[in-house]
Amino acid sequence: MNPALSNPLLFAVMAGLLAAVGFGQSWAVALTILNLCLISAVMALGLNMQWGYAGLFNVGVMGFAAVGGLATVLISKAPVVDAWAAGGWRLGLAALALLATAAVVVAVRRWLGPGPIRSLATAVLVIAGYFVVRIFFDPATEAIEAVNSAKTGYLGGLGLPVLLSWIVGGLLAAGVAWFIGKVALGLRSDYFAIATLGISEIVIAILKNEDWLARGVKNVTGLSRPVPYEVNLQGDLWFADFAAWLGADVIEASSIFVKLCYAALFLIVLLIVVALSERALNSPWGRMMRAIRDNEDAAEAMGKDVTRRHLQIFIIGSAVIGIAGAMLTTLDGQFTPGTYQPLRFTFLIWIMVIIGGSGNNWGSVLGGFLVWFVWIEAEPAGLWLMDVVTSGLAEGSPLRAHLLEAAPHMRLIIMGVILLLVMRFAPRGLIPEIMRR
C-alpha cells in the first residue's frame, strides 16, 4: 500500500486503540497511556537517530534517561542550604582534586611517549588520584548525607522552573554522551553495545548510591510540576463550574485535565523533535550520515570524518533521550533510580525503533506508541485471557491462582515474540526508511 495512505491509517488505528481504552476502561487510564506513549515516542526518536541514521548500537538508553531524570532534581528542587554549608566546600575541594588529577594525568601522558611506562604511570596516577579525591570526598558526602537524612540528606537543586530541567536534562545527557562517545565510539558494534550497556549500569549504580547527589534509593519525591495540581483545580471555582457544565465529577475531571495538560506539553516537545529530525534527515547533513552508515569505508575514503559525525549523532540522540527522561520524571513527580531497568528503558525502546521502522522518524513515533500500548495493555489483557482460560477450573484451585498471578509476565513473552516476528518477516518495520536515490 502506498505509504501516503498506509501511514495515516496506522496512526488512525493507534488513535482508535487509545479511544477503545478510553471507552472500555477509563479516560484517565487512556490519557495516562497516551502520556507515556508520547514520552516513549521521544525516546524512540532519540535512539532512532543513533541507530537509524548512523548505525550506532547504543544499548545504554537507560543511562541517558536516568541522567535526564536527575536533571529535574538538580534544577527544580530547592537547594538544601544546611547541606551545602556542611559539605559544600569540601566537595568543591574534592572536585578540585579530581581536576588536578586529570590535569596531571594528561600532562604526564603527553610528556611520556606511548608504551608500557605510560600505561603504568597512568594507572598509578589514576589510583593515587582516586585516593586523594576520596580524602576530601568521603567526609564531604558524609556531612551532606547527615543533614536531615530522613527528608533531605542531599544537596538539593537550583530551585529553578521545572520546564527548564527538560532542556538541562538534554544537555546533561549530551555531556555524558560526549564522554562516552569520545571513549567508546571506536569500538565495533557488539563491543560498543556491551560497553554502553555497562556504562549505563554504572550510571544507575552511581545514582543509586551517591545519596548526597539525589538521595539514592531514598528517592526524591514531590518534584514541582509545570501543570496545575488536581487538588488546586478542585478548589478553583471556575473549574468546578466547568466540570459541572460538562456533567462530570470534579475529582475525575481534575485528573483528566491535568493529564491533558501534560499531553499538550509532551506533544509540543514531540512535534518539535520530529520537525527538527525530519529537517535534519532530509538535509545534506542527514544524507551524509546515512551515506556513512551504509558504507563507512567509502565515506572515509572520500574524506568524511566518520568519527566526528558519529560523535555528533550520538550526542544529539542521547540529548533527546535525556529530554524524554526528564519529561518522564516530571510526570512521575519523583526521581526513583531503582526503576531504571534495562528491560524497560533500553530493550523496550529498541523494540519500538525496530518495529516502528528504524531510520524513519514517523516510524519511531508509531513504534513508541504501539509498543508502549501493547506493553501496558498486555497486563490486563493477559489477566483477562487467563481468566477465560481458567474459568473452567475451581475457584480455589492452585493452578488457577498461579496462572492468574503469572499472567502479567506474559507481556514479556508477547513483546519478545513480536520483536522476533517483525525482525524475521518485516525487518524494515511498520514505516520503513524512505530510500532516496
Binding site: 569500538l187 556491551i194 555497562g198 549500569e201 507481556r411
Partner: protein, 337 residues
C-alpha cells in the same frame, strides 16, 4: 604469630573462598558465552535467561524428588536433578536456534542482527521463566550446609577467626573443575572438538576442510546449554534462585569472557576468576585484616574499603569497559575483526 594466622584466615574466609566460588560460577557462565561467540559469532544476550531456565527445570525436578523423599545427603538432591535440567535447556537452545538463528545464519546476517534477535529471545525466555516459576526467590537446597563451620574451625585451631566453607561452595568449585577439565579434553582431543576450534579459528578454511557447520553449531548449543544450566543451578544452590539476578549476572559474565579473550575457552575461565576476585577484593573492608597485621598504633579507623559493596557490579563493568578500550582482544587475544 596467631595475629598473622588470624589475618590469613580472615582473608580466606571473606575473600579467597567467596572469590573462588564466584569465579567458578562466572567461569562456567563465561565458557558458554565464549563458545557461542566463537562458533556463532555473536554475543548472546539471552544466555543469562538460559541459565535461569535450566536452573528452573532443575528446581522443579528437585522439588519433585524431595517430595518423594529422595535424598542423597549430605549432597543436595539438585545434583540428581541436574541432568534433567540440562536436557531441557539443550532442547530449548536447539529449538531457538532452529526457529530464530538458523534463518540469519543462512542469510549471513551481520552480528548486530543476531544480538537484536537474542534480545527478543531474552524477553521470551525471561517471560517463560517468570510465568512458570514466578519472579520471587526460590530455595531448593538440602543436605548438609557446611563442610567446615566457623565455630568448628575455631575450636580445632584455637584461632580467633573462623573459616567457614559451605557445601555448596565446595561443590561449585569441584563441579566447575570437573566440567572445565572435561570440556578442555573434549576440545583438545576429540575430532568434533578440534572441528569446533578450527571453525572458530578460521571459518572458511574449516568449511574447506569439510567441517559441517550445522554439526558444529549443534554441539556449541549443546555445550553452552549444559554449561548454563550447571552454572545457573550452582549459583542458585549457593546463593538463591531469583530470575532477575540472572540477567544481572550477564554483565560480569560478558566481562569475564571479554577480559579473557572472547572466543577462547581458557580465557573465559581465567577472566571469570579475575572479575570475581576484583569484585571481592575491591569491595572488602580491610580494617580488621589490617588491625591483625599492623601494630596497634597504626591500626586504621576507617573501614579501608576501596569501593562500597553497592558498587560490586559496577566494578566488573568498569574492568570490562577498560579492557574494551585498552585491549579489546583480551588476555588470550580473542578475535578482532
Amino acid at each position: 604469630m596467631t595475629d598473622f594466622l588470624d589475618a590469613l584466615v580472615l582473608l580466606a574466609n571473606f575473600v579467597l573462598v567467596p572469590g573462588v566460588t564466584y569465579g567458578s560460577q562466572l567461569a562456567l557462565g563465561a565458557l558458554g558465552v565464549t563458545l557461542i561467540y566463537g562458533i556463532l559469532r555473536f554475543a548472546n544476550f539471552a544466555h543469562g535467561d538460559m541459565m535461569a531456565f535450566g536452573a528452573m527445570v532443575v528446581i522443579f525436578m528437585t522439588w519433585w524428588l524431595q517430595s518423594l523423599g529422595v535424598s542423597i545427603a549430605p549432597l543436595p538432591v539438585a545434583l540428581v536433578a541436574l541432568p534433567v535440567g540440562i536436557v531441557a535447556a539443550i532442547a530449548m537452545s536447539l529449538a531457538t536456534d532452529r526457529l530464530v538463528y538458523r534463518f540469519y545464519r543462512r542469510a549471513k546476517a551481520p552480528s548486530v542482527i543476531y544480538i537484536l534477535t537474542s534480545i527478543g529471545v531474552m524477553f521470551v525466555m525471561n517471560g517463560i521463566v517468570r510465568f512458570i516459576i514466578g519472579p520471587d526467590d526460590q530455595r531448593f537446597t538440602d543436605g548438609a550446609r557446611f563442610i567446615i563451620t566457623a565455630r568448628g574451625f575455631k575450636e580445632a585451631t584455637g584461632l580467633h577467626e573462623g573459616l567457614a566453607i559451605k557445601l555448596t561452595q565446595a561443590l561449585t568449585v569441584l563441579v566447575t573443575l570437573i566440567v572445565v577439565v572435561a570440556l578442555f579434553r573434549f576440545l583438545q582431543k576429540s575430532r568434533t572438538g578440534k572441528a569446533m576450534r578450527a571453525y572458530s579459528d578460521n571459518e572458511d578454511l574449516a568449511l574447506l576442510s569439510g567441517v559441517s557447520p550445522e554439526r558444529v553449531v549443534f554441539f556449541a548449543w549443546l555445550i553452552a546449554a549444559a554449561l548454563a544450566t550447571i552454572a545457573g543451578s550452582l549459583y542458585g544452590l549457593d546463593k538463591s534462585f531469583k530470575p532477575f539476578t540472572y540477567f544481572q549476572l550477564l554483565l560480569p559474565i560478558f566481562a569475564s569472557a571479554i577480559v579473557g579473550g572472547i572466543g577462547h575457552p581458557l580465557g573465559a575461565v581465567v577472566g571469570g576468576f579475575i572479575i570475581a576476585f576484583s569484585e571481592v577484593t575491591i569491595t572488602y573492608a580491610y580494617k580488621k585484616f589490617l588491625r591483625y597485621l599492623l601494630p596497634d598504633s597504626w591500626a586504621p579507623e576507617s573501614l579501608v574499603q576501596f569501593l562500597s559493596t553497592d558498587y560490586k557490579f559496577a566494578i566488573s563493568f568498569v574492568i570490562l569497559v577498560v579492557v574494551l578500550l585498552v585491549r579489546p582482544t583480551g588476555i588470550y587475544g580473542g578475535r578482532s575483526s
